[in-house]
């Protein structure tokens, strides 16, 4: 399974970026069972978007084929398109990217029913 986490810099040890649309970058984590198998970092081109940053960022992670998005906050537009695409969205997450993914895999993070702002 692939998980996208908004991150403050390009590392598994980075903090989860509280913003989704305008986060610094995304860490794409590949998991198998409860283990992190692989990870890569991708730029978030939407960071400089004048409008619709959330949509553009959602497109970026969706095109990576992720099934789950973990972030701090997400707006209504990005939330709706992601969930309509069948991607699970988890918000309100803080701490390190790696810890966030591990928590999710252990079932300690629940998906969100709506946008956080």
């Amino acid at each position: 399974m692939k998980i996208a986490v908004s991150a403050t810099h390009r590392s598994l040890d980075a903090d989860v970026d509280p913003r989704f649309g305008r986060c610094m970058c995304f860490v794409i984590v590949e998991t198998e069972g409860n283990e992190i198998k692989n990870h890569k970092e991708i730029d978030n081109n939407a960071i400089r978007a004048t409008r619709g940053a959330g949509i553009q960022a959602a497109q970026t992670v969706a095109n990576e084929g992720v099934e789950v998005v973990i972030t701090g906050n997400i707006g209504p537009n990005a939330f709706n398109v992601l969930t309509q695409t069948g991607i699970e969205v988890v918000t309100g997450v803080t701490g390190k990217v790696k810890e966030a993914v591990e928590k999710y895999l252990k079932g300690k993070l629940k998906d969100t029913s709506g946008p956080s702002f």
Binding site: A49, R51, G52, I55, Q59, V81
Partner: protein
């Protein structure tokens, strides 16, 4: 027909008041249409003691996907500068209407003509006759519309057509404050713009922004300095020099004028200037 604009970046400096007084003065011996382009909160009609009645609807054409024709190429999404089209590989594009400005670019680029349109009301326009030489055209956007540039553009077209029909000598566009899309639409193709400001630090800061915009869109600018005798006029003179523009109208601060304005007494206001 001469096209003139009354504009400025800061609110409350007297853009509308100047536009109305100019239109009113010109109407003494010329025919004038005043077009209120501040569609998010048009209020020229208030000072002119009018009521907005008999609206003509303004529509915008929003994109709708014809799934039978769509080949999921994503060109529409890549073209959209508003990021209003969500598209992922091998899926149909999704239009986000909250972000769409109805610019029509997606329809133009679609290689299969798979994007149809749906009409939706985005605003309305009104026409009032002030006197035999003076008409007011007002645009008003529907509450909740985030992108009002296209509404301004439509109101402007209607006002120009109306002015041509009435064979007026002047059309004056009163813009919203700021330098955003709505203001730009109101200023495009105008022969001369009066940048209204006041000699205060805030007035000066915002003033350089509007001169920057006018330079960029190649509209000749002249300066209207309101409350010219209070504050520090050197602030404005410095910027005027930098942009090679001149202060062509000065309105001194006058308590009488403020009183007449509060009482919507146009005749008295004109008499005081």
């Amino acid at each position: 027909m001469k096209k003139i604009a009354s504009t400025g970046t800061k609110g409350g400096v007297g853009k509308s008041t100047f536009a109305i007084l100019l239109a009113y003065k010109l109407s003494k011996n010329k025919k004038v249409v005043l077009c209120d382009c501040d569609v998010e909160c048009p209020n020229d009609y208030l000072i002119l003691n009018q009521k907005l009645k008999n609206p003509t609807k303004i529509h915008q054409q929003y994109p709708v996907l014809d799934k039978k024709k769509c080949i999921k190429c994503g060109l529409c999404s890549k073209t959209c500068r508003e990021n209003a089209i969500f598209w992922i590989k091998d899926k149909y594009p999704v239009f986000i209407y909250d972000l769409c400005t109805a610019c029509g670019a997606c329809m133009i680029v679609c290689p299969k003509s798979a994007i149809k349109t749906k009409k939706e009301k985005s605003g309305e326009s009104f026409t009032n006759k002030i006197n035999n030489n003076f008409w007011l055209v007002t645009g008003r956007s529907k509450a909740g519309i985030t992108e009002t540039g296209p509404i301004v553009s439509e109101v402007k077209n209607r006002a120009i057509k109306f002015a041509e029909k009435k064979k007026t000598d002047y059309i004056i566009f009163d813009t919203a404050p700021g330098t955003h899309c709505s203001v730009i639409q109101a200023l495009l193709d105008v022969g001369k713009a009066y940048a209204v400001t006041e000699p205060t630090p805030l007035g000066a800061h915002d003033f350089s922004l509007i001169l920057e915009l006018l330079k960029k869109i190649k509209v000749p600018a002249e300066i209207v300095l309101n409350k010219a005798d209070v504050g520090n006029r050197k602030l404005i003179e410095k910027i005027a020099k930098r942009f090679k523009t001149k202060i062509s109208v000065e309105i001194p601060y006058s308590e009488e004028l403020v009183k007449a304005y509060c009482e919507k007494d146009l005749v008295r206001m004109v008499g005081l200037i």
